[in-house]
Amino acid sequence: MDLLALRELLPELILIATGLVVILLDLVTNDKRVLPIVSAVGVLLSIIFTVTGLSALLRSPFAVEVYSVPGAVSADALAYMFRLLLSASTLAVIGASSDYVQRRLIGARGEFYALLLFAAAAMMILTAATELITAYIALETSGIALYALSGFLRDRRSSEAGIKFLVLGGVSSAFLLYGMVILFGLTGTTSYAGIAPALHAAFRENALPISLAVVLIVTGFGFKLAAFPFQMWVPDVYEGAPTPVTMFLSVVSKAAGFGVALRIFHLALGAPTVALEWTYIFAALAALTMTLGNLAALRQHNIKRLMGYSSVAQAGYLMAGLAVPNDAGTAAVTFFLISYAVTNLAAFAAIIALTEGLASEAISDLAGAAQRSPFLAFCFAIALLSLTGIPPTAGFFAKLTIFGVAVSQGLLWLVLVGVVNSVISAYYYIGIVKTMYVGSAKDERPIPAGLALATVLLTTTVLTVLLGIAPDAVVSAASTAAAWLP
């Protein structure tokens, strides 16, 4: 293999190298505050390379002519968009968690950042992979890092979260692998581009094995994406894991999962005959997932658990876009993921500051937060509005595009289920806004927020509003990238 081709993997390689540097640095330095700074610099470097590539690719699909690792990883605009989304979100997680890690993860700080960086690098490869084996290896690499991260607090709930995540994650990977093996057996290739026509040709005589493969793959992804009925690990893991890890899971991991699902379903399984096999499954699962997520979230008292169910519900909306196997569907899911990422990063940055400042994860303890810390409460409120889908925030246009493409696909019933779900979700999202703004606090002291966290919070909040006022640049970038998908 041409080693020079690896330069196209520079963003990922930088992250991995930074991870190694952080581990080594952790051994020799006593001032652990330098670790997040080094990590952040590494991610920034990676972002710079990604942005240069992306801006070239959005002007012309052939800007990067050599496919980096031929037949394994693609250098198309969509891959670069996901790279950017994942690395920028990782940067935000590092910024929002530096104080938390310094205080809570004594003795494991270097490992925390290193695992975070390894997971991010693996996910970036995952979303750019053009064939099943690369995708599977990247998925498992990121998975192992995440299982370990979930158990990092080493208390009962955190350990339980780690074990639960490990066992269920392993089982779901097995499903996925079985499905992939059947696909390989049927088509004789692992590349998405090769699978699609081969499946289409083999569809008549092999309908049953193809259905079996589809069902197995849907099940495997069901776990990863937290779709009904495979969502039961979510609330426990979200509650038990360290909050920065929950933040990472809910944003970076979710974006990566949908990124690879887009390629596998819309490219490899996207031929019209084959798509008929799974679009209706996804549509039905989408409806059930959003409904279950929202109804369960209504009953939660713990903010992290609530965000767990909220992420299940959001996965439901995203799956409605997945059920539309064309460019418009891909673009809508991409835009939704970007909006969801900035929104949930803001929400979790606020949650880290609030839960640490209040030493409580109970929603009722947020009462009066608006008077104690107007900045934190305001940013959190904007994020919650965006999650509800109320304009002028990113979440509104995210829902508009995803429900819009679903309507064009004739999924009117699913859109009706979706909009009614948005109303249900308003009850608990706005309920939190109410607690912060209407309730009165027992304690009048301001809730502290570190500089790095405040920067992340401010940036993501501004982006949330900006995407709600002027989304066109991102919407058109997403549709260009989707249209130019090889």
Partner: protein
């Protein structure tokens, strides 16, 4: 005279004002109020400037002072503002009530900065609904009004045990969101099948060809407006929200927020789907008749003054729907005028009741007696608003109701008679309430009551003046309204 980007300026001035307020020191209530008053005053001025300017340019094109540029071209969403004869009076009404709402709230000291910021954002939301000519933009402003309203009711509303402000605020939120969820579905169908969300373009497209039954789209969108108007049986949020809202918010809610529903029906449902409206007109008229009678009957047995006015609003907004259902130029003009006059009349009623409550600390009609002896000015305002509300000639309510009834009698005689019965009912509850609370002998415990002070009298005087001006010179408003109603009525007539 219209300035360049006049509508944008008018629309976003309150939001800019809210940002200014956010930067002021929290302790200085007076400064916050003065800034809020200046902003809303300036906004009212901008709205009023449009009136003569519109009369000069009217007729040249369907909409005046249009501003249009591509906003999200990838999705076919544009930033498109404009006014016509239908929206202009409502814009001016919003400017007026927004300004008066600040005066009505002059006594607010609890978290004043947040309160006035929310009032200003609310004003941008309402103005945006009346000014938008793009469906997505319209929807954006439609939803923008939600959260300020929710917080205004749940923070400054009537606390327990008198009220249930948090319950009422959430009920308002969920009902409105429920309606807008269906509207969103309707607008997605329209936008993603035709490729444009522009209301002017949509109205010239053959929407029967979109592949989804237009009847379905019509009703999906109608539900949102029916919740807002409100139409029986979707009205139950209104009495709760009104009763527990602070006075200024009640004024705005009754004055302009309900009108968003009526405006939406005219601007979107009837304009885009005249054929569906034509077929379903009897159903709309039935809903209108039931709203009028049901609202009126329930009003009769209310003991709380604010609840009483709230239910009377259900009844009176029924006339709007009745006028719409008849689909003639006269009845549609009546419906539009009813929206404007109901805004001033009910605004005045709530302002007066707010003053009574501030001083007497009760709104229970059986407890209030003989207020006229101690609060003649407030009592007079209440009485005038009440008489206008029951349709006394010479006042604005009469003209609107008269137009609605003349316009609709030919089409729907039975429902029109139900509407006229509603007038009889309103005469009953208004006069009975006035007799019980204002006249009778003054009980000992109300001896200490003081009449309204100067700053409190301004809103009352202004609103009383508009009631008489429109009542005695209705053409001032109807001539403008007709310019907007004309094309809508024309489109329906072509079907018949």
């Amino acid at each position: 005279m219209a300035l360049p980007f006049h509508l944008t300026l008018l629309l976003f001035l309150p939001t800019a004002g809210a940002l200014v307020l956010a930067m002021l020191p929290a302790r200085d209530h007076r400064l916050v109020k003065q800034v809020a008053l200046c902003i809303t005053g300036l906004d009212l001025l901008l709205a009023l400037m449009l009136w003569p300017a519109y009369q000069q340019v009217a007729g040249a094109s369907r909409f005046a002072f249009e501003e249009q540029f591509a906003w999200i071209p990838t999705l076919g969403v544009g930033y498109h503002l404009g006014v016509d004869g239908l929206s202009l009076p409502l814009v001016v009404l919003t400017g007026l009530l927004g300004f008066l709402a600040v005066l009505v709230s002059w006594h607010i000291e609890h978290r004043a900065k947040l309160y006035f910021s929310l009032l200003l954002i609310l004003q941008t939301g309402v103005l945006g609904v009346f000014l938008s000519l793009d469906f997505v933009l319209f929807f954006l402003f439609w939803e923008l009004e939600l959260l300020p309203m929710y917080l205004l009711i749940s923070i400054w509303g009537s606390p327990p045990p008198v009220g249930r402000r948090e319950y009422s605020a959430m009920k308002f939120l969920i009902y409105t969101l429920f309606g807008s969820a269906f509207m969103l579905t309707g607008l997605l169908i329209l936008g993603f099948t035709t490729g444009t969300f522009d209301l002017v373009k949509l109205s010239s497209l053959p929407l029967q060809a979109i592949g989804v039954p237009t009847t379905l789209v019509f009703w999906l969108i109608f539900i949102a407006f029916a919740v807002k108007l409100p139409v029986f049986p979707l009205h139950t949020w209104l009495p709760d929200a009104h009763t527990d809202a602070p006075t200024a918010v009640s004024v705005l809610l009754a004055g302009v927020l309900l009108k968003m529903g009526g405006y939406g029906i005219l601007r979107i449902c009837i304009t885009l789907f005249p054929d569906v409206a034509y077929v379903w007109a009897p159903t709309l008229a039935l809903l209108a008749g039931v709203s009028v009678l049901y609202g009126g009957l329930v009003t009769l047995r209310q003991r709380d003054l604010k609840r009483l006015i709230a239910y009377s609003s259900v009844s009176h907004m029924g006339y709007v729907l009745l006028g719409v259902a008849a689909l003639g130029e006269v009845s549609l003009t009546g419906a539009a005028l009813q929206m404007v006059t109901h805004g001033t009349i009910t605004g005045l009623l709530f302002a007066a009741v707010g003053l009574i409550y501030d001083k007497a600390h009760t709104r229970q009609i059986p407890e209030l007696q003989g207020l006229m002896h101690r609060m003649p000015f407030v009592g007079l305002a209440f009485l005038i608003a009440g008489l206008a509300s029951l349709g006394l000639p010479g006042m604005s309510g009469f003209v609107a109701e008269f137009l609605v009834f003349t316009g609709s009698f030919e089409e729907f005689p039975v429902y029109t008679v139900m509407g006229v019965l509603g007038i009889v009912l309103s005469a009953g509850y208004i006069l009975w309430t006035a007799e019980r609370s204002l006249f009778r002998a003054l009980p000992h415990r109300w001896e200490h009551l003081q009449d309204a002070v100067a700053v409190e009298r301004i809103p009352l005087v202004v609103l009383m003046a508009t009631i008489f001006v429109i009542g005695l010179w209705p053409r001032l408003v109807t001539d403008v309204l007709k310019l907007g109603i004309g094309p809508i009525a024309e489109a329906v007539k072509r079907l018949g």
